[in-house]
């Protein structure tokens, strides 16, 4: 209150004082005044704190060049060299170690009742085609991708700089082009198998029983896909979509994105890629050396009826009702 009432008085005082000051200083030479053009100039520190990057106007066509300083590059470097690197390394080495221990303890999972000699169709030609198109391209994409992340530490010292560059250059082209059949494969696998991969109550029981993986002779019931396979399916679909979106962004740099989006896309691509490679190693293990009779499903498409009864009892039942199981009269689920 007091200040307000004083204000007009103060204003009058300073006004008068200012007028006198002006009258006195006006005739003085200009050199006596200190002109400081930086007092109101843009400050690098302040701008960086406010905007996290410095941007201005440029007179060249490349508009990306209008960013003068982007310290975010250092954060991306840290993320790329530390987080992405270790996520991939730990996932892959972790899964390899786990599989080694599993194989040492459990060994190859055999068909408990022995092969029956009779087979039934598990995957038709089209299903196997899309599986192997996706799988084949994924292996190349995975190896070339891992080469970008780990090659300079693992392969470069072994084969030398020139050979490593040749390999990486070819790898880059392979990665760019094979991305397309991979993406198409993911879409078709989704359409072909989504119906049988909706989670249900059977999966809960299957997971509670550990999938029968850790106990000999234990075979929790499952339909066409058990909960483990559903997890693989959804990792491939969700991971594949994440890799596809981030990959397309990386494939068309700065077409519709800015620097922040490019950096994010690379981080997503690196982390998801590493994790999916780890998951696929487990998938390859159980589909080949890990389980007797499993490879036939994607090999010839014809699986042994006893294998099917043990691992997909409810599916065999469904197929038997359709008359698709040889000797269906005796087709009593193993459980």
């Amino acid at each position: 209150m007091k200040l307000v009432s004083l204000f007009p008085l103060r204003a009058a005082f300073f006004g008068l004082f200012g007028a006198i000051l002006l009258a006195v200083s006006a005739p003085a030479p200009a050199a006596a005044q200190i002109v400081n053009p930086t007092a109101q100039a843009v400050q690098e520190d302040k701008l960086l704190r406010q905007l996290h990057h410095l941007e201005g106007r440029i007179s060249i066509p490349d508009q990306k060049a209008s960013v003068l300083i982007q310290p975010a590059g250092r954060e991306w470097r840290e993320f790329h060299n530390t987080t992405v690197f270790w996520t991939g390394a730990i996932s892959i080495l972790g899964i390899l170690a786990a599989l080694l221990v599993f194989y040492a303890v459990r060994g190859r999972i055999a068909i408990d009742s022995g092969p029956s000699g009779k087979t039934m169709t598990r995957f038709n030609g089209f299903e196997r085609f899309i599986h192997w198109m996706t799988a084949g391209t994924f292996i190349v994409l995975g190896i070339t991708g891992l080469n970008v992340a780990f090659g300079k530490y693992l392969l470069l010292p072994l084969i030398g700089a020139e050979a490593f560059t040749t390999f990486s250059q070819l790898g880059k082209y392979a990665h760019n082009y094979l991305a397309f059949p991979f993406m198409i494969g993911v879409v078709f696998m989704f359409l072909a198998w989504v119906k049988e991969n909706i989670p249900n109550a059977v999966d809960v029981a299957w997971l509670k029983a550990g999938g029968g993986l850790f106990v000999k002779g234990a075979h929790p019931p499952a339909k066409k896909f058990n909960a483990g396979q559903k997890l693989i399916f959804w990792s491939v679909i969700l991971g594949g979509v994440a890799l596809s979106i981030s990959g397309v962004i990386l494939l068309f740099p700065f077409y519709a994105t800015g620097m922040a989006e490019m950096q994010l896309a690379q981080i997503v691509h690196g982390i998801v890629g590493g994790v999916i490679v780890a998951i696929m190693i487990a998938h390859i293990y159980i589909g080949s050396v890990g389980m007797e009779g499993a490879f036939d499903a994607m090999g010839s498409g014809e699986v042994d009826v006893n294998w099917a009864k043990e691992h997909h009892s409810l599916w065999v039942k469904e197929e038997a009702e359709k008359g698709k199981v040889p000797g269906a009269a005796a087709a009593v689920p193993a459980e």
Binding site: A41, E44, L68, Q70, R74, L156, A161
Partner: protein, 198 residues
């Protein structure tokens, strides 16, 4: 050995873009690639400043750290150079670089990038000094001839300084003390983790 650095005195830069032109001419830099550029901040507003920027030849260079084929190397003069024979054009150095220095010629399909090109501090590349192979890939090697980068050498207002870090810092300090102001060594904190205090 010297620790080579760039310093752009923003209070002197008049955005004439001669450094950009001289660089392009000296090294026969192809169309679409700019090793150096001038960015004007707060254009048309009070306190507007222009800064000429290229590769700052960072201490602990981020480009070298993220390169998947390890194509970067640092010379005895602390100039960050790279080998175009080893570069695969992945673009990672551009994501990591705080100064937008790496440039890529567009080749082939979609966004595929050719071998990265950037400011060499007029110091060429891994090939023999001033050989035609070096010139074709990296441009002139003025440092090997005992000359400083052309951009700084011909700067009409001497805003852009190139040379040993300690020496150009001294020149800048003297200027600031004499004229009574200075908006600082742009990019130094990010590139060299130090700045010039007057």
């Amino acid at each position: 050995m010297a620790r080579m650095k760039f310093l752009c005195d923003a209070d002197r830069c008049i955005e004439c873009n001669a450094c950009v032109t001289a660089c392009k001419n000296e090294h026969e830099v192809p169309w679409g690639i700019n090793r150096r550029r001038v960015v004007t901040i707060n254009d048309g507003k009070p306190g507007e400043r222009s800064v000429s920027m290229a590769c700052m030849h960072c201490t602990d260079a981020p480009c070298a750290a993220v390169c998947p084929v390890d194509c970067f190397y640092t010379t005895a003069d602390a100039v960050v150079l790279h080998s175009k024979d080893l570069c695969i054009g992945c673009g990672y150095c551009f994501y990591a670089c705080p100064f937008g220095a790496p440039q890529y010629p567009k080749v082939g399909n979609f966004g595929s990038r050719g071998k990265m090109d950037k400011c060499t501090y007029c110091a060429g590349g891994p090939e023999a000094d001033n050989s035609s192979a070096e010139y074709a890939k990296y441009g002139a090697n003025r440092l090997a001839e005992g000359k400083l980068p052309i951009c700084a050498e011909m700067c009409s207002t001497k805003a852009l300084l190139a040379g040993d870090g300690a020496m150009i810092a001294t020149i800048y300090k003297e200027r600031v003390l004499k004229r009574g102001y200075g908006s600082g060594a742009w990019g130094w904190k990010v590139a060299y983790k130090e700045t010039i205090t007057v």
